[in-house]
């Protein structure tokens, strides 16, 4: 039932789209309420999110901490820029590994699509080199499996 697409746009953007079988307010809530975020924004199997700070208002802080349950983990920080319930979220985020990754500016839109929702997430990386590296190295480092899983469902 997945319908994920991931493509580049211009020099510095990555655009991800995905359809969900629920209306925009539900999908928006799942993106903004910590108790709901902790149930799905977990990354690879087996990870949990012990800390989920998500102050969903302009200027509000984001802090997600993930744990693999074996002492490993990392965290993400960010800030909200603008929110339009239940149609649009604009924020900036960076991973800490522990060194911060380049800032990723993310605009997420939720549009009604029949009984469901079409989500369009547009990431803007600081420059073309960062974006190209992000996409190109992934393919060369044997992570094609994830892509193939994605492509199967397009």
């Amino acid at each position: 039932m997945s319908k994920l697409t991931l493509k580049t746009e211009g020099d510095t953007h990555v655009v991800v789209t995905r359809r969900f079988a629920a209306r925009p307010e539900k999908v928006y809530r799942a993106h903004t309420e910590p108790e709901l975020l902790k149930k799905w924004l977990l990354g690879p199997e087996g990870w949990t999110m012990p800390v989920c700070i998500n102050d969903a208002r302009p200027g509000g802080k984001i802090r997600y901490e993930w744990s693999d349950g074996k002492g490993g983990g990392f965290y993400l920080t960010g800030e909200f820029i603008a929110l339009e319930p239940h149609s649009r979220i604009e924020h900036v985020e960076r991973m800490h590994l522990p060194d911060p990754t380049p800032d990723n500016h993310v605009e997420t839109r939720f549009a009604p699509d029949g009984q469901g929702t079409l989500m369009t997430m547009r990431m803007t990386l600081p420059d073309a080199a960062t974006r190209e590296a992000m996409l190109a190295t992934g393919m060369e480092d044997g992570m094609e499996e994830s892509y193939r899983r994605m492509e199967k469902v397009l």
Partner: protein, 120 residues
């Protein structure tokens, strides 16, 4: 390490080819330059960029100065990339399940004309 520098360094195809070669083991600048239609100074510049980004290191062995991959730096970049891709796929599968649960619980019905209510 400086991830900005690492990502800029990785954006060049020649530098990625150099890294792929070093993944097989140490090599000197001369050995690294061999497959490329490129002068040795040009290859040396690429090696300098990779080295400044912390992705490779050079050691002194008599008159040779072999290069090697800095595995810890590579795996740090890898972790971010792996996270981004796997997270997208795995997260949205979980979100599907959560949304199904939210719909089943009723939540606040979104719109009065919802056809879905009748079906559940």
């Amino acid at each position: 390490m400086d991830l900005d520098a690492a990502f800029s360094a990785l954006a060049d195809p020649t530098r990625r080819a150099i890294l792929a070669r070093l993944a097989l083991g140490e090599a000197t600048v001369t050995e690294l330059a061999a497959p490329f239609d490129m002068s040795q100074p040009a290859v040396s510049r690429h090696i300098r960029v990779l080295s400044d980004a912390g992705l490779i290191s050079q050691r002194v062995d008599g008159t040779r100065r072999p290069c090697r991959l800095e595995i810890s730096a590579i795996s740090e970049v890898d972790r971010w990339l792996a996270m981004l891709r796997e997270a997208l796929t795995a997260n949205y599968d979980r979100l599907d399940a959560l949304l199904t649960e939210m719909e089943a619980e009723g939540g606040e019905p979104a719109r009065e004309n919802s056809e879905e209510k009748g079906r559940r």
